[in-house]
Each structure stands twice: as structure tokens, then as C-alpha cells.
Amino acid sequence: MIWLALTLLAPFGAGVAILALRRAPAAVAIAGAALGLAGALGLFASMTRGERIGAGLPFLPDFPISLEATPLTATLALLVATVTTAVLIHAAGYMARDPERVRFFGTMALFVAAMELLVLAGDWITLLAAWEMIGFSSYLLIGFWHGRPGVAGAALRAFLYTRSADLGLYLAVFLLIGRAGTSDIAATLDVTGTPALIAGLLLLVAAAGKSAQLPFQEWLLRAMAGPTPVSALLHSATLVAAGAILLIRTAPMLPEGVLVAVGLVGGATAVVTGLMALAERDLKRLLAASTASQYGFMLIAIAAGAPVAALLHLIAHAAIKSALFLGAGVFQHDRESTALEALAGAGRARPGIFAGFALAALALAGLPPMAAWFSKEAILTASWASPLAPWLMPSALAGALISAAYMGRALRVLWAGSAERAKAPVPFMAAGLWGLAALAATLGAAFGPLEALLGAAIAEGPRFLPLLGLAAAAGGLVLGWTLPPDRLLGPLFRQAETGFGIARALEALSTRPVLALAEAVERLETAVLSGILASGRAGLALAGAARRIDRDAIDGAIFALVDRLWGFGQRLRRLQSGLIHRELALSMIGIALLVAVLLIAPLSS
């Protein structure tokens, strides 16, 4: 209980305290994150002792909030806490001179709290709430430098893309709650049959949106407008991870049909976004595309029936990618740009940082004995063994090759150019980076016990698979180091550069119609209004405007209905000719009608 509360409330309290006190933001944030880390460690320790921890709070009638720590969620909580602590330490340096530090650290701390809530959620409503709140926090963080041109648009896009995909989660949650009669996640995992298929597909949509899988990858590439620590956090253990976490948690429920779809999305993303990363001209965008591609791997793992492999890769990737971003942040700090051209040689100017960066990059490429090697291995094994689809393994392998290639390319660019003199040393940033890089290198050792803890060991595959993986990694690195991407990719380069037109197609299919519809609605609104006005004016013209009463204040204001009736009144008015004999004659006609009615009415009744 206490660990659970500490994990959640420490970052939350830190965020509130920062925003309220507006003092020493970095220190408070790091303290909060550290306390949270302690809590997560405590939780994890409890798990290893076989305890189960849960808590409930009232929320909606019949649907309480519940929190739950299982080995899986505790592991994830620990991961989040670890990465965030490191990133916050780095950010203390990175943001040292920013006048809006308070807002930054406050939002970061709240973001972390939301992410922990997501991870530890025991019921769907809490999960959904946390899911949306991390979207909101990331909106604030991506839009942190809101004064700069383009930033607001990037933040907007990030939130909108993920929110559109979130509809899938909403519907899935409605469906699952409706089926199970409870919002408890564990209980709903028993759902089977068609509802499970539909819910699974809906969850896939939501996860694809958050994890920037095809076709939603675009927002992630643009989300680089935020400060680098933000990117580090988003890409590693938090926002983007949420999608994969969702699928990992619900994996027991997913029927085959969904798994095929997951595999399709994951495989395609791994390859396509990998190619995009290769063609990228901006370091941070390259890393972003690489993130999408790595999450594609995780989806492949889930499709192959090995969510544990996905979890391992998630952990490995979290450490690696945050380290890479922190490194990129340092380079950006030096060169005040993230364009690859501008960064040429930036690595050689800070060999220490570059070493950390390179370590992480090699890890990502999948070189043994670093973390990603193990996880990629596990994924390859699982996909080889998967009876589901024969193309899972090849696509994973291709993805691995491409990952290695773009990492090789990045290293080459950073090393090859002219080394200008670096600015002042950056101890905080370096500390964060090295801490993470070290994790990236060594985490693999922890995977075995972790698998044991989760009770899901990965089966051994054929012998040649590790060799194949190693070959892909090494080959990719070499190719990326030696060949410029346009030669490497050949005719694909142009396509990859523009993201294969997927983003444009998606916008053409969604945003444009919506905006067009909105325009149409607006036109309808004005047409309705002007239609009323026009008919009112026509009525006035019909009336011949016998007298001008425009002087009266009211006339300008007479509402359209009255306008229209005006003409009618004028016509009736002509009956009132003032000539008695005419009026009398009209009365006589009236009498005749009256007689007719009086004669006919009794007959009809």
C-alpha cells in the first residue's frame, strides 16, 4: 500500500508543490522522482516476495478506481521511475537557464504521476483517465516553448492524433465493461469470441495511436518541437510506451485475428518507419522514427504470442532511447540545431558524450551483449516459432537490419565532420546520459530473473537465429556507416523521405473531410440565417413598403419571422380599404361562408 502510494503520490506531490511554491523546481522534481523510484523499488521488491498489492477509491457509482500492482505492472512502474529520474537529472542541466523552469518541472512531475497511474491502473476507467492525462501532459510538454513558431501546431497534432486513436480505447472499454459488467481489467480479460475480437481491434487502434504505429506515426516525428528531455521521456518509457503496455497487459485476451492485425501493423511499422529514419535529415526526427520502428518490434512480439519479449524490448528500448535523446540534447545544446548537417562532427567535440551515445546506439542496433540484443533475440525466436504468420520473422529481421543501418548512419555523421570546440562541460546532462547508457548496456543481465518473476520464459529457438540477428545488426551498422542513405535505399529514398505519403493520405482521409464538413456546416448555418433574412426582405419588398417605418429603432431589429409576416399584414391591410361598401361586401361573403359551414358542419358530425 505505502509503496503504491509513494510511487504515485511522490511525483504528483512534487508537481503540485513546484507549481504552488514556484521554488527550486529541479530539486523538488528530482526528489519527487527519486521518492517515486524508491516506491517503485519497494513495490518490485514486494512482488519478488510474491505479495500482491491493490487499492480502491470511490469514483463513479458501481465503478470504483482501483490500483493494482502485479509483477508486470510493478516492473513497468520501476522502469518508468528509473527512466524519469535519469531524465530529470539530465533536465536539471538542460533547463538550467530557462525562465519557465517551474512550469517545465511541474508538468514533468505531473506527467510522470499520470504515467505511473496508467501503469498501475487496475480498472479500465482509471486506465482510460491516465491514458488521456498523459496525452494532455505531453501536449503541454511538447508545446512548452509555445512562443516559437510551429510549436503550437506540433503539440496540437500530437494530441489530436492520439485522441482520435483513443476513440478505439473508449469503445473497447465500453464494450468490455458492458460484457463483463465490471470495470476491473483482470476480470474483463476473460471476454472471448466476437466481443474480444472487436475489443482487441479497437485496443490496437488506440495503441497504434499512442505508440505511433502506422498510420499514425506522423505526430511523433513532429513532436520534436519540445525540449529534448521531454522527447527522451516520451519516447522511452512513457507516452509512446503506453500503447505497447496496453497491448502487453491485454495480450491474454487477444484472439488470433487481433494478433494477426497486431503483427501486420507492427511489422509494417518496423520496416516503414525504419526506412524513414534512414532517410531522415534531422537527428531528433531520426530518433523519433526509430522509436516508432522499435515499437513495431514490440507489436511483432505480441503478435507472436510473446508479450514478455515485447516487455523486455520495451525496457531495453526505454533505457537506450532515453540515453540517445539525452545525447542528442547535448549536441543540440552545442550546435543549437538538430539537423544532421549542422551536427556533423558534434560527437567528436565531446567524446565522452559521444561514447555514451554510441554505446546506446550500438545497443539499439542489437549488438551483444547489450540489452536490446537479448530482447531482439527473444522477438526473433518468438516470431520464428509463431504459427500465426510466416512473415513475422522476416519483417522483424528486416527491421533489425534497418535499425542497425540508421544507427550506423547517425554515428557516422556525428563523428565524421569537423570538431568545433565544445562549450562548457555539462555534468548533469552527462550524468543522466551515462546512467542510462550503462543501463542500456547491462540490463540484459536482468532479463532472465525478470522472466522468471513474470512466470513466462521464452522458449529456445534454433541455433542459427542469434547468428542471423547478429549478422543483421553488424551488416546494418556497416551499411549505414559506409553508404549514404540515398544510395542505400535507391528508388525508395524519395518515398521514405516523405514518409511514403502515409501522413498526407491520413490527413486527406480524416482531417480534410472533417474540416470540409465543418465548413459545410458553417455554410449551412449562414445559409439558414441568410435564407430567413432574405425571405424577410422579399416579404418587405412584396409589401411595397407603403410606409417607411425604418426610422423606428425596432425596424432594424425586427426579426426575420416578423419581416416575412409584414408583407402578409400589408396585403391584409388592403382589405381594409376604408370603403364601407367594399368592406360590407366582404362581410357578406363572410356570412355566406358562415352559412356554408353551419350547414355542412352538422352533416359531418
Binding site: L572, Q576, S587, L599, A601, P602, S605
Partner: protein
Amino acid sequence: MMGRDLSFLLPELVLVGTAMLMIVAEMLRAARLGLAIGLAGLATATLLTLPVLDADTTVFSGTYRIDALSGWAKLILLPGTALALLMVRAEIGGRLREGSVHALIVLVTLGALMLSGAGDMMLVVLGVVLTGLGSFALVAWPRDDAATEAAMKFLIFGAVTGAVMIYGLTFWFGGTGSTLFADLGRLTGRPLVLAAGLTALIVGLGYKGALVPFHFWVPDAYQGAPVSIAAYLSVITKAAAFFALAQALRDLPREAGWPLALGLIAAATMTFGYLAALVQSNLVRLLAYSSIAQSGYLLLAVVALGASELALPALLVFAAAYVAMNLGAFAVVLLAGRELSDLEGFGRAHPWVGLSMAVFLFSLTGIPPLFGFVGKLGLFAAAIDAGHLWLAVIGILNSVLGLGVYLRLVVPMFAASERHGAMPMPAPLLTVIALTLAVTLSFGMVTGLFLR
């Protein structure tokens, strides 16, 4: 027998005496005295009505009815007449033959009482003629071009419709051998005779009650007459016509078809009145058309007669509300001027009177919690209860039209304008406005407590 009858007729007798005394006062050229006598007489008659309010009987072998309808009618018509007298005093006080006007008004009110208690065709005929003759003279009182033209139109319409009515009613006499409405049941199974008399009655009383298509005289007569006379005509004689219609029709089988005919007339009247009012720029004419529209609403209650118990109460409540709010509105017009443009900024210059006018107009529209709303509520309830949902719907649609009409007055009143400086505020007029305002405002909320 006769003593008993006369005791029921005390209010009428007091009023006759009052009229005689007023004529004497006029001969002595003592207009103020005449007015005082008139007010006192009206007050006495009103008080004398109270003891017989619960009666449900007839006097003189059924020719005159002393029942809830005629009793409440007196309670509405007599105070209304007193208010009208005050307005007349404010408008033409001190001018020639003022006393004749006062006396005529009391006499016409007597005719109105005859109508509202009529149990006999002859009384209806006499009532229509009496109120008509007095009204012609009242309208013609200024004797200028406009007034005489108005009176002439009024007269011609009145004479022709009156003659048609009399001719038609003779058939009812032929059919039943009686002139009592109570005997009309004998006509069952003779639709033609029934229709002839009905047509006649509707023509004669429809003219008096300003129903389409017998309304043509209304705007002209109101415009040509003094404003206070227009106010008087728009409430007292009109309300009396509806009371007479109710007295006559409640004994007739609904199968005779009159509910449908009257329903159609009601719909036409409401719609026509408001549509025509919409385009007026002369305030008196505008109010004339508005009062035509209100006639259509009053007719809703008559249409429901015999099918809904709510019909008579609805008729009385709305008539009371109508008398109060219409008199009030005319009183403000008397103060502000006869043209729509005279109202510009009036409410800002004289906030209390302006506010009163807004209250009267909103009440005429039927907006709660004003008296007019309660009246219309009863009318709609009666109509729906009687199975004429369509009429209620038309009534409601027309309420919106009416709002357009009345907002044309309210809005400029509160617009910024420098037109109005200090102006004389005759005390009688302020009294009228205050009293009608009190009734319009409070009776909407509290009358219910006194209704049985």
C-alpha cells in the same frame, strides 16, 4: 314575484337611476357632479352585485338571467366602466357636453349588462341596438371629419348587421314560438332554421365583438373616436357581446355546427388581427387590431361551451384580464400620443409609466405571471378540453405573432431618445394606470386564491 325579481335587479336599477341623475346633472351643466354621481353609482352597483353573485336563477319568466356569468360580468363591466369614465374625464374634461358623454357611457354599460344577462332574443336585439346607438354617438362626439366618418362607418355596419340579425332571429321565433334561448332545444332536427338563427346571432354579436369578417369598422371607429372612447368600446361593449353569445349558445346543441364555425372565425380573427396590427404605425389603430386579435382569443372560450366546464370560467377570467390590460394600454397611449413614433424613448423619460406599458403589452401577449397569461391558460385549457386542440395550437402560434406586434411598442419605448420632456400627468389617468397595473400584475398570481 315581482318584488323578488326587482331585488335581483338592484344593480341595474341603481345604474338606471344613476344615468337619470347624470342626465339631470348634464342639463345643469354640472359635469363634475355628473361624473361623481356616475362613479358613485357604478361603485354602488358593483357592491350590490356581490350578494347575488352566487344566485343561479332568472327574472321575468326567464328573459333576464341572474347567474354566475351575468354576475361576474357585472363585476368586470362596472369597474371597467368607472375606469373608462376616468379616462374620458382626463381626455375631454371641461369640454362641451362632457356630461352627455358620461351619461351615454353609463347607458351603454346598461346595454352591456342587458346583453350579458340576456335570456331572450329581444334583449339581445335591444342590447345590441342600445350599445350600438350610444357608441355611434360617442364616436361622433368630436364631430370633426374623422370622427363623423368613423361614426358613419360604425353606424352603417351596425345597422346592416343588426338588421340581418333581427331578420334571422325571427326564424328562431318561428321555429319555437318563444323568444327565450332556453327554448331553443326545440329546434333539434331542424338544421336549416337553426342555421338561420345562428348565422344571424353570429353576425350581430360578431359585429359587436369585432370578429372577422365583421370587424371592418373597428380600426376606423377607434381611430376617429377620442382615445378614451376607443378604450371603452374595445373592452366593455366587446366583452358584453361575448357574454351574450355565451348566454345564447350554451343552450344550443353542439351538433348544430356552431363550434366549428366559431372556431374558424376565432382562428381567422386572431391571425388577421395580429397580422394587420403588425404593419400599423398609428398606435390607436394598432391597438384596435390587437383588440380584434384578442376577440379571437375570447371566442375560444365560447367555442368550448357545452363541452368543457372550464369554458365559462375561462371566458370570465380572460375578459377580466383583457379589460384591465387593454384599458391600461389605452391609458398609456392617451398619455404618450397616438403615433408609434411618440413612444420613442417614452419609457426612459417616464420609467414607471413605460414599465406599466410593458407589463400591459406582455400581459396581452400572454406571458406569465401576468393576468393575461392566466386568462390565456384558461382559454387554451378549455379549448383542448373541448377537443379543439387545433384551435389552441393556432392560438399559441398567434401568441408569437402577437409578441412581434407588442415588441414593436416595447422596444422603442426604452430606446435612447430626447423626444420627451416633462409632460402633464393627469391624476385620473395615473389612477387608471395604477389600478389596471395592480390588477394585471397581481391577479395573475393571487386571484386563484379567491376563485371557487
